[in-house]
Structure formats: C-alpha cells, structure tokens
C-alpha cells in the first residue's frame, strides 16, 4: 500500500495497524472522530516503521471543524486530524494525538520548522492556564524544532506558556529551539506578548540555549 486514508475511531486504527506493515507507504491521511481519549501507541509504532512519512516541516492548524497536523505544511505526506469544532477540545485532542503514551509519534520528533496557524472564520479562543498547559503538552512532541512560526492570534497563549517555563524548566520543551517568528510582533512593545517572549529569551540565553525572536513575514511561503 502506498496511500492510506482512514476516518474513524482511534480503537479501530490501533487494532488495524497492529496487524499490518506498509513499508512502501508514502501518504497517510488520518481523521479521527471526536473522542475523549486519543492515546495511539500502536499507531506511533506503525509510523515508526514507515520513515518515508517523515519530514522536516510541520503545520499544526485549526479551523471551524477540525484540528490537524500536516507534514510538510504544503502538499503533505502525513496528515492527522480530529473532527471537532470546540477550540479547547481541539487543542486538547491534537495535543493528545501528538503525545501518545509510548513511544512518541516519530515524525514529529524530527520536525525542525513548526508552523502554528488557524483558518477559523471567527476566532473564539480564550487564553487561560488550562489552555497554556495544553500548548505545553503539544509542544513537548516537537523535540527537534529549531524554528517556530506563530500566527498573531495564538502567539499570546504560547508566549505565556513559554514564560511559565522560566526557572528550572526552561529547556523542558523545544530544547533545540533557535528562532521564534511571531506575526504582528512589536519588538519595542511592553505588552504581555512581548514581555513573556522577552523573559523566555532571556532565560534561554542564561541557560546556554539562546534564541532569537523576530517578526514573522507572512509573505514568505511555507515550505
């Protein structure tokens, strides 16, 4: 099998991929129905046996009907989505899917460029501590990311999440990070977004893992 499209519940796919090997697979498209639990250790093992799917760039994207991860962002050889319209459920679901109990989802741990965007017709997204914890859980999967690209709507929540790590946990997520590109960033501003990012960058510098924070140029196409 070279192409595999699946839409259904986690348990079915987990049962199926336990029993099959597809070494020639070069396109995998998964959509899960909305569920409470998205633990997918067997899917992770299956993908681990399918290195053709791995790519250096990834896109985490949200819209009115689903949340998804796509590698690479354009075209794509691997796409995993959750059918769900509630924003906080979307983030929780995609964070779970990206972090199966064991092993980690292999293609995500090799991603170096990570884009986080949305296509909501109308953004209803509240920034609160629970949401910050979910962003943290999502980012944990991307251990090799060097460049993080954020849309302006998600940047405040993610910046607050990263600021929470200042102290002993500064390299707990995104240990390889070198650059954060933020849409609409005002470098000299003292708004919470810029403050949080500034504190995070400063802490990374002191820990010997410096990062640069720059304005994201939307006109620069994703790879």
């Amino acid at each position: 099998v070279k192409s595999f499209f699946f839409k259904g519940v986690v348990e079915y796919l987990e049962g199926l991929v336990t029993c099959i090997d597809t070494p020639r697979l070069d396109y995998l498209d998964i959509t899960f129905f909305n569920q409470i639990d998205f633990d997918t250790p067997r899917l992770a093992q299956f993908i681990n046996r399918t290195p053709k799917l791995w790519r250096r760039q990834a896109l985490v994207e949200f819209d009115d009907n689903s949340a998804r991860v796509r590698l690479p962002p354009v075209g794509g050889t691997f796409r995993i989505a959750i059918s769900c319209s509630e924003p906080d459920w979307q983030l929780s679901s995609v964070a779970q899917v990206c972090n199966p109990s064991f092993p980690p989802l292999p293609p995500l741990s090799t991603v170096e460029d990570l884009y986080i965007d949305h296509k909501y017709s109308q953004l209803v997204w509240k920034s609160d501590p629970i949401e910050n914890q979910l962003w943290l859980q999502l980012l944990l999967a991307f251990t090799a990311v060097k460049n993080l690209y954020l849309c302006k709507e998600f940047a405040p929540g993610i910046a607050a999440t990263l600021q929470d790590l200042v102290g002993g946990r500064i390299t707990e997520v995104l240990p390889s990070l070198q650059n954060i590109f933020v849409e609409g960033l005002r470098v000299e501003s003292s708004e919470p977004l810029e403050e949080n990012l500034g504190q995070f960058a400063s802490a990374r510098l002191h820990s010997g893992h410096p990062i640069a924070i720059s304005v994201r140029d939307r006109n620069r196409p994703r790879m």
């Binding site: 099998v1 499209f5 259904g8 987990e14 049962g15 199926l16 336990t18």
Partner: protein
Amino acid sequence: VIQIDTLPDDALLEIFDFYVDRSQWDEHKTAIEGWQSLVHVCRRWRNVVFRSRRRLDLQLYCTPETPAKDTLDVWPALPLIIAGNMTLSGTDNVIAALGQRNRVSQIVLEFAGWQLEEFLARMQASFPELTYLQLISDDETLPVISDSFLDGSAPRLQNFELSGIPFPGLPKLLMSATHLVNLWLTNIPHFGYISPEAMAATLSMLSSLEELTLQFRSP
C-alpha cells in the same frame, strides 16, 4: 497529397488508435464510445476497427437511460461499462445490461435504497471480466450485501469502491481479488462493520494493493 482511402490498414489503425486514445481521457459515454463514429464511415473502416477491438479498447457504455435491450444487440459482443445515477431513473436498462454478465468490465452506479435489492439479486452470479466496481448510496437504510455477491469471487477486480452500503462479508470476496489495486470503503455504516483483525488479514492477501481508504460514517 495522399487520399485517406489509399492508406494501408496498419496506417489507418495508427490514426484510429490516436483518435480513441485521446477520447478516453474523458470517461463519459460519448468519449468511451468515440470509436462508433469511425465504424459509421465505411465498411473498410468498420472492418479495421472491429478487427482491432482489443488494441482500440472498444467498449460499450450503458447508462440507466440507455435502452439496453434495443442497442446491445446492434454491436458485437464488446466489454460493457454500466454507469450512472439510478436514483434519477428506473432500473430496467441497468438490469438488462447486467444480464450480459460475461461482458461487464465496469460497474459505476449510485442507488436509492429501494433499487439496491433488485440490483443485488442480479449480482449473485459470477462476473468474470469485472475490473472496476463502484457502488454508492446515501440512504440510511439499505439491504446488506450477501456473501454470494459476485458468486463470492472477483478474480480480475482492480478497483473497488463501496460507499454507504453494508457488506460485512467483504473480506471473503476480497480474498479472491488478488489483482486489486485500489480499495475505497467510504461512509461505512455501523452494520457493515468489519473487525480490524479481519480487515488486516484481508489486506495481507492483497499484494497488488496501492491505495486503501477506510472511512466510517460519522457517529
């Protein structure tokens, strides 16, 4: 300048080959049956075309609107494509075309629920030349496809799409479909459930399979 009737048969055949090959980029009736305009030109062209039916991939295209009983006898026994949306018409023409089961190479049909039962009754027999089978229905309540569908065997089947129609015995049929390249099971209803273990065992037998789609109906 050379008059076309001075061309040898093999040169004519090259031209015809080019003509029908271009036509078949389009899968509709007029394109598939584009060769028919050639055989109407003259007896010699007709002979050249019918002598080369395999090379020119001559096929007849039957739709729910095609008066099959009247037209099928006009032509030589060419492979049949049966395709169309039956929800917009009656079943008579399709049922008549299915009567030529040894010639049917492709079936692409969309049904209303009440039509499916009559169709399935005609499909409880062997269709030895069938390579492409696509059956679609959006109705919520449909009869289940039985294990005797296609007489339990599809040796030449390469493409199979089933959308919205329950077929719990599908793994048994697919065991015989050793040339299957594409398998699309979409809008799978709850009572068409096939266990992942049974599906995996089936897939392991399909060594030519390149594309697999499994999409369950949303809860």
